[in-house]
C-alpha cells in the first residue's frame, strides 16, 4: 500500500480547522476536529457537518439500467420511484458481501449508486464486469467529480432549509430532490448514517468547499460543527448500522448480517440469490447482534466472544457509546445465543469479561419516517 492517499475537495478546510487527519480506506480524512465525544454530542443535540466526499458514486443509464441493478443488488429496484432512495447490498454468488450501498432513482432510466470509499475500485470492476451481458446500460464512475456533505442532527432541517432554494421540509425519509444549497447545485437526499434527521448533499467537487463554508457560516446560529470519522463511527455504532470492513465483508453472509430486510428473492434473479435462499431454508448459523458490556471493559473489533468459556463468536465493532453512556458493541454469535439478554463473555486481554446481547438500536433513532 504505497499509493499516495487521496484527498477530498475539503482537505484544506479540514487542515485549516485544525482537524487531525488520518488514513482511511486510501483517503486522508479528518478523524476529529475538537474531540470525538464533543462532536458526537453536537450531532445528537444540534447539527453536525460531515465530509463524506470519499464515498463513491456510479451512475447507470439506459433501457437496461434497471435490469443491471436488479442483477447486481439484493433489494427490489423496480419498487423505486423517481426521487426515491433504497438501501441495498451487492453480493457475491456465495451470498457474502461485496459492499453495501444506496440506490438513487434519478430518472426513468437513470440511477446512481453510492458505495463505500475503500471499495470504489473493487465495486467498479464488479458492477461493470458482472453486467457486461446487460444491453443498453451505460455505467459512469462519477466519484472523482462528486463531493458529499452530510448534515445531521435535530437542527439539520432548519439549517439546510435556510440555504436551499426550495422547501426541504417536504422531502421525506429516503427521498431526494435537486436544488441549490448555498447557491451550489445539489442533490438533497434525506438520508444519513447517524440515526438523526438530516440530509446528505451531493455537489460537484468544485462546488463542495463553497457548500461546506455556507453551511458552517449559516450554521453558527445552530451551533453547527464539523464532525470527523471518529464520531461518525460512534454515531452509527449506537444505531447498529453495519460498517463495511468491520461488521460486514466478503466473508459475511447478508442474512446473518441482519440485512434480510433488503434481500428480496421474489423480485427474480440476482447475484447471490441461490446461496441466500439456501441459507434462509437451512437457517442461520450465526447472527449479528448488539452487545453491551456488564463488566467494565471495552469490546473491540476481533475480540473473541465466549459462552461458558467456549468460543461462540467474534466482536466486529465496539467502543464507548457517548449518548447511551455504556460500552457497546456489535458481534457475530451462534444463533441459539442471539436472543436479547443472553449472557456472554468477551475475551479482553486474556480475560472473559461479562457482556449480554442488547436490544438495538442502542439509541432511539430520530430519523423522519413517513407519516
Amino acid at each position: 500500500m504505497s499509493s499516495p492517499l487521496k484527498r477530498t475537495p475539503l482537505y484544506h478546510e479540514h487542515v485549516a480547522a485544525g482537524a487531525r487527519m488520518v488514513p482511511f480506506g486510501g483517503w486522508e480524512m479528518p478523524v476529529q476536529y475538537t474531540g470525538i465525544i464533543e462532536e458526537h454530542r453536537a450531532a445528537r443535540g444540534a447539527v453536525g457537518l460531515f465530509d463524506v466526499s470519499h464515498m463513491g458514486e456510479f451512475e447507470v443509464e439506459g433501457p437496461g439500467a434497471l435490469a443491471a441493478l436488479q442483477h447486481l443488488t439484493t433489494n427490489d429496484v423496480a419498487a423505486l420511484e423517481v426521487g426515491q432512495v433504497q438501501y441495498s447490498v451487492l453480493c457475491y454468488p456465495s451470498g457474502t458481501i461485496v459492499d453495501d450501498l444506496t440506490v438513487y432513482r434519478l430518472g426513468d432510466e437513470r440511477y446512481m449508486i453510492t458505495v463505500n470509499a475503500g471499495n470504489i475500485d473493487k465495486d467498479w470492476a464488479h458492477v461493470t464486469t458482472s453486467t457486461s451481458h446487460v444491453k443498453d446500460a451505460r455505467w459512469r464512475n462519477a466519484s472523482e467529480g462528486t463531493g458529499l456533505v452530510a448534515v445531521q442532527g435535530p437542527k439539520a432541517e432548519a439549517l439546510v432549509g435556510r440555504l436551499a432554494d426550495r422547501d426541504v421540509t417536504t422531502i421525506g425519509y429516503y427521498r431526494f430532490e435537486r436544488g441549490t444549497v448555498g447557491e451550489v447545485p445539489t442533490l438533497i437526499s434525506r438520508t444519513g448514517y447517524t440515526g438523526e434527521d438530516g440530509f446528505e448533499l451531493y455537489a460537484p467537487a468544485d462546488g463542495t468547499a463553497q457548500l461546506w463554508k455556507a453551511l458552517l457560516a449559516a450554521g453558527r446560529a445552530d451551533s453547527a460543527v464539523p464532525v470527523g470519522l471518529g464520531a461518525r463511527d460512534t454515531l452509527r455504532l449506537e444505531m447498529k448500522y453495519a460498517l463495511y470492513g468491520n461488521d460486514i465483508d466478503e466473508t459475511t453472509n447478508a442474512l446473518e448480517a441482519g440485512l434480510g430486510w433488503v434481500v428480496k428473492p421474489a423480485k427474480g434473479e440476482f447475484i447471490g440469490r441461490e446461496a441466500l435462499e439456501k441459507t434462509r431454508a437451512e437457517g442461520l448459523r450465526r447472527r449479528l447482534v448488539g452487545i453491551e458490556m456488564v463488566d467494565k471493559a471495552v469490546a473491540r473489533h476481533g475480540y473473541p466472544v465466549q459462552k461458558d468459556g467456549n468460543a461462540i463468536g467474534v466482536v466486529t465493532s465496539g467502543s464507548y457509546g457517548p449518548s447511551v453512556d455504556r460500552y457497546i458493541g456489535i458481534a457475530y454469535v451462534e444463533t441459539p445465543l442471539a436472543a436479547v439478554g443472553t449472557a456472554l463473555e468477551v475475551e479482553i486481554r486474556g480475560q472473559g469479561k461479562a457482556a449480554r446481547v442488547a436490544r438495538t438500536p442502542f439509541y432511539p433513532p430520530k430519523v423522519k419516517k413517513p407519516a
Partner: protein, 130 residues
C-alpha cells in the same frame, strides 16, 4: 504546545513520574492524552501489585484505540486512582493532577536516573513523539 512540567521525569512511552517522599506518582503526559483523544476507559493494577520498569502495567483506551501503559520505575503499587473508573475523562482534563494513575514504592533508586528529563522529553516530542 503540550504542557511538560519541569519538575517531572518522563518515559519514552509518554508516562510521567513524580517523586513524593518515598513514593513515585505516575500518570500519562499532556501530549499522550492529546494524541489519544477522549479517554473512555482506564485499567490499573491493584494495590500491592508489583510493576517493572518499562513493562506494561495497565491500559488506557480512547474512543478509537487501546494503548498500553508502561511503568517508569519498578516497585510496589501503594495507591491507585480509583476515580478514573467512574471518570476516565479526568485523564484528558488534568493529566498531571487529578488524572494521576498510580503511586509506586520504588525498589530501585538507580532507575530514576534512567528517566528522561523535561528537556529530553520535549526533544522527543519535537521529533514526533517516537
Amino acid at each position: 504546545m503540550a504542557n511538560i512540567p519541569k519538575d517531572l521525569k518522563y518515559t519514552r512511552e509518554h508516562e510521567w513520574a513524580k517523586q513524593e517522599g518515598d513514593r513515585v506518582r505516575v500518570g500519562i503526559t499532556d501530549y499522550a492524552q492529546s494524541e489519544l483523544g477522549d479517554v473512555v476507559f482506564v485499567e490499573l493494577p491493584k494495590i500491592g501489585a508489583k510493576v517493572t520498569a518499562a513493562k506494561n502495567f495497565g491500559v488506557v483506551e480512547s474512543v478509537k484505540a487501546v494503548s498500553d501503559l508502561f511503568a517508569p520505575i519498578s516497585g510496589e503499587v501503594v495507591e491507585v486512582n480509583a476515580e478514573l473508573g467512574q471518570k476516565p475523562e479526568t485523564v484528558n482534563q488534568d493529566p498531571y493532577g487529578k488524572g494521576w494513575m498510580l503511586a509506586v514504592k520504588p525498589s530501585s533508586k538507580a532507575e530514576w536516573d534512567q528517566l528522561l528529563t523535561a528537556q529530553q522529553y520535549e526533544a522527543l516530542i519535537a521529533q514526533g513523539g517516537h
